[in-house]
């Protein structure tokens, strides 16, 4: 029997993290109850890790009533693949891995095609492909409203038409915790159960719950090259070095994880979650800075969303 950790808030008051948790669990259960074929998008990062934990909490002691799906560009860090496979196995999670086979066959990569085009083909198109192929009518994602100014108005249930397109005019008002999950055949939703969490909340929760993460979040000596002001890790032999570039060992970590040639690292000594939080609080840069795809077109969020990226 566990006692609720005695809180300074009084006997029957929930802390902000537990309130956020309760809200997210409510949303996850609502979707599982009202949709025919949900799936949880799993990107191996810290937000996904938190989302999976919340889903486990929602259905404990039963297994998750939906699969996880990793849309694999084939350019993730090696550590991410390793973590994904051990984690899903250890937790008995049903994982679907989907790759855009045409893209793979054509050898689409971040160097020749550039980050923008590469992402469109291997991520956006791949996701739409997978959702259509499996006929999923609801896809959970770990996106938060605090990530980016343009996300501040994003709904928790985000509606997509038959072509997986986001129609800004067709989003529904969300009042109380009453989510309208009515859709027509062929339509679908993206669900963001952690909309109200901030980056700090996520890290605090990871700390509190001891959620396992890919080691790349923690600082260690890793080989990097500096490119356009970003530190890019040389993760495997596919990395194309420019003339004169020589990988150097630096103590780095990542604030967000994606395709290694497109993920900027930061120099850091933070080897534990509290140290990461400390660094984060004392340097105020938005998380997205590390994502090179956003550097390409700062204001392209809306467009990406319409194409189905989110």
């Amino acid at each position: 029997m566990v006692e609720q950790k005695e809180s300074v808030l009084g006997k029957h008051a929930l802390t902000h993290l537990r309130q956020l948790e309760a809200e997210s669990i409510h949303i996850i259960r609502e979707v599982a109850a009202e949709f025919e074929k949900p799936v949880m998008l799993y990107s191996i990062g810290k937000d996904s890790a938190t989302l999976v934990r919340l889903a486990q909490k929602a259905f404990h002691p039963a297994p998750l009533p939906f699969p996880l799906m990793h849309v694999d560009t084939t350019w993730k860090f090696r550590d991410m693949y390793k973590f994904r496979d051990t984690f899903t196995k250890a937790n008995n999670l049903n994982l679907i891995v989907h790759t855009n086979q045409e893209g793979k066959r054509d050898g689409v990569n971040p160097f020749d095609q550039g980050s923008e085009k590469f992402t469109t083909i291997m991520k956006t198109q791949a996701l739409v492909q997978a959702l259509t192929q499996y006929g999923f009518d609801a896809a959970f994602g770990g996106a938060r409203r605090d990530e980016e100014k343009s996300r501040a108005k994003e709904r928790i249930y985000s509606f997509r038409d038959k072509f997986q397109q986001w129609d800004p005019k067709n989003q529904r008002p969300e009042l109380w915790s009453l989510y309208n999950g009515k859709i027509n055949r062929g339509e679908s939703i993206r669900v963001f159960p952690m909309s109200n969490w901030t980056e700090l909340d996520i890290w605090q929760y990871i700390y509190l719950e001891d959620i396992p993460l890919v080691p790349l979040y923690y600082a260690a000596e890793r080989p990097v090259v500096e490119r356009n002001g970003s530190l890019i890790m040389v993760d495997d032999e596919r990395m194309r070095l420019h003339p004169g570039e020589k990988p150097q060992l630096k103590s780095i970590r990542f604030r967000t994880l994606g395709d290694y040639p497109l993920s900027g690292a930061i120099e850091s000594e933070a080897k534990t979650v509290p140290e990461i939080i400390k660094e984060m609080l004392l340097t105020r840069h938005s998380e997205r800075q590390g994502r090179l795809i956003d550097h390409d077109q700062a204001a392209s969020m809306e467009r990406k969303k319409r194409e189905g990226y989110f």
Binding site: H12, L14, T15, E23, K149, K153, K182, A299
Partner: protein
């Protein structure tokens, strides 16, 4: 460096321990355009370091003002681009945190679609912050904002009297506003109303205490938000547990997953399941972290019961001695959220707790005129209007009055065709205080609460068919050519894209014909009748059944001799020509096509037929 930053630097674990125990406060901030809403939020976010450096840099660059570090209103101005794209402007959520609380701000734009946005942002808010421009004083909008905040059950109101710098920090001005507005707020249902003199632009009394308003001794905006007691706002008295999901991992485990809407539940409690009325005991309260002795709102948990009782999603678990009202009807204030107005004859979906059920409006009582806050007569609700409705549902709901319970008293209305969320409702207290649960459950078991009538409204049919039903009655002697006209007319209407149908039976009693005509007309069909009804009285009977306003009489006025020649077998006696036919066609002079065109022209003129 703030105290918090020092703690982060020196003792991050201490910081984390402290920040684990914060409360969450949601507030909505409202004001008319230019009252300083963006500036106030921007100020808060800036001073609390909730703006990232890279974002701040962009704002700094865009700032054209002098005398202030940055144009704070630009921090939250993410809506501009969308305005240009013609996207519905709606609620934006922002986040910041202090050592005492985490805050979620619902930022609702002050102009277009105001009520809809404000109501959305207000639905979960603990505090409403209303801005009043000190120069302009209490406006009609200020009263409207306070009224809406109170209607949505927000317990605490903070009135920020802004732009005090522009009135020379005049205490009298502030007091006058306070006097006037607190008088108005007395009639509303806030637990407390607090007034703070502010200059959002200069940061007076926002986060920092003002130096200019020496006469003011109360809290700053942030100070108020950090300390206003909200724990008591949670309803911990009435245990309500809407079952959300049934967990059955194996034959030995059956758990009812849900979020506690209100109240507290303990292991061993006797509970009742609605609508079955069966009772059992709580065998266990399960969470991922292990079993618990008790749980309280708003926790998401899983309950297991002692007995194998029928219980599924949409049911509600309560304590037998403290039950919600169980009924298929209630009165509620409804805010209309959609461009398409309420159709009181149509059936919608209603989502209440974890149930989605069919509903109908049984009565529109009135509408609240938002400029005067008075009740005015109404028979529908338009976008952004609020009205008092009686609602009937297909299955019972287990509800409380919204002012007692913001979870079990709230619902949304969903259009069953478009799936859009079209309304938001707040249930009013019932007329009777105590409900006899046995009687209520009997009634619930007895059958549908909806009147057995069509759930498809005339408006919906009209929209589906693109036309409205009308009866075209052809009067004329046997042999006048009625039936010929009828079939040519039917074909022509069909070719024009309309749904038309000819009724031309012979020998059926007139009453049966009247029923059929009415039925087809109700269905939205252009019903063409070519029947032998000779007397005016007979035709008046059909017209009466169908309804005068959708009955068109055509007199097929063919020369009696010709008619006689065409139908020598028929009885031509006793025919009474119509007194006032809507159109008369003369088939011995006109070709049938011309006659049909004359009829169609008339139908088009009256709006039944679309020639375009």
């Amino acid at each position: 460096m703030s105290a918090d930053e020092e703690l982060i630097e020196k003792d991050i674990l201490g910081f984390l321990a402290k920040h684990e125990h914060k409360e969450l406060l949601r507030f909505v901030i409202v004001g008319s355009v230019d009252d300083g809403k963006s500036t106030l939020i921007g100020r808060l976010l800036f001073e609390l370091k909730a703006v990232y450096e890279d974002q701040l840099e962009a704002v700094r660059k865009a700032t054209t003002m002098v005398g202030v570090p940055i144009d704070f209103s630009l921090i939250t101005d993410g809506l501009e681009a969308e305005r240009e794209q013609g996207i519905t402007i709606d609620v934006a959520y922002r986040y910041f945190t202090t050592e005492k609380r985490k805050f979620i701000v619902a930022d609702t734009p002050g102009h277009v679609q105001y009520t809809r946005n404000m109501v959305t942002g207000a639905s979960t808010a603990d505090v409403a912050v209303i801005l009043i421009d000190a120069r302009l004083g209490v406006l009609e909008q200020s009263r409207r904002h306070a009224y809406l905040a109170s209607l949505l059950g927000i317990p605490h109101l903070l009135v920020a009297v802004n732009k005090m710098d522009l009135v020379g920090y005049d205490q009298k001005r502030f007091e006058a506003i306070r006097e006037e507005f607190s008088g108005f707020c007395k009639g509303l249902s806030f637990k407390d109303v607090t007034f703070i003199p502010v200059s959002a632009l200069l940061g007076e009394n926002v986060v920092q205490r003002g130096e200019k308003v020496t006469w003011y001794k109360g809290p700053t905006v942030l100070g108020f938000l950090e300390t206003v007691p909200i724990a008591e706002d949670q309803n911990l008295t009435d245990f309500r547990y809407p079952v959300q999901y049934v967990l059955r991992p194996n034959l030995n485990y059956r758990g009812f997953a849900g979020q506690i809407a209100s109240g507290v539940v303990r292991k061993g409690d006797e509970v009742m399941i609605l609508p079955s009325g069966k009772t059992s005991r709580v065998k266990a309260i399960d969470t991922f972290a292990g079993e618990r002795d008790e749980a309280f709102a708003p926790e998401s948990v899983t309950l297991r019961l002692e007995h194998e009782i029928d219980c599924s999603r949409g049911d509600m678990i309560v304590l037998p001695g403290n039950r919600p009202r169980t009924s298929r009807s209630f009165d509620a204030h409804v805010v209309w959220l959609h461009e398409k107005p309420l159709d009181p004859e149509k059936s919608y979906f209603l989502k209440h707790t974890t149930q989605t059920i069919r509903m109908q409006v049984s009565k529109v009582h009135n509408r609240i005129e938002l400029t005067t806050l008075e009740e005015v007569p109404a028979d529908t609700l338009q976008l952004n209007e609020i009205g008092l409705l009686s609602i009937t549902t297909h299955r019972p709901t287990y509800h409380d009055a919204y002012q007692q319970n913001r979870v079990t008293g709230a619902f949304v209305i969903v259009d069953s065709l478009s799936n859009a969320t079209v309304g938001a409702g707040m249930i009013l207290p019932p007329e009777e205080d105590e409900q006899d649960i046995e009687a209520a459950l009997r009634e619930v078991r007895a059958g549908s609460g909806l009147e057995n009538k069509t759930q498809v409204s005339p408006r919906e049919r009209r929209e589906r068919l693109g036309q409205t039903g009308v009866t075209v009655w052809l009067s004329g002697l046997p042999g006048s050519g009625k039936v010929n006209v009828a079939y040519v007319l039917e074909r022509k209407l069909f070719d024009l894209g309309h749904a038309a149908h000819v009724l031309a039976p012979e020998g059926d009693p007139l009453s049966a014909i009247a029923v059929a005509t009415r039925g087809l007309t109700d269905a939205g069909i252009i019903t063409i009748c070519a029947l032998p009804a000779k007397t005016r009285a007979e035709r008046a009977l059909v017209q009466d059944r169908v309804g005068k306003e959708r009955f068109v009489e055509v007199f097929v006025d063919t020369d009696p001799t010709i008619s006689q020649e065409r139908r020598p077998d028929a009885d031509h006696s006793g025919f009474e020509p119509p007194d006032q036919a809507d159109v008369t066609v003369n088939l011995d002079q006109l070709r049938v096509e011309r006659a049909v065109n004359a009829i169609i022209d008339l139908l088009a003129k009256r709006g039944w037929v679309d020639l375009a």
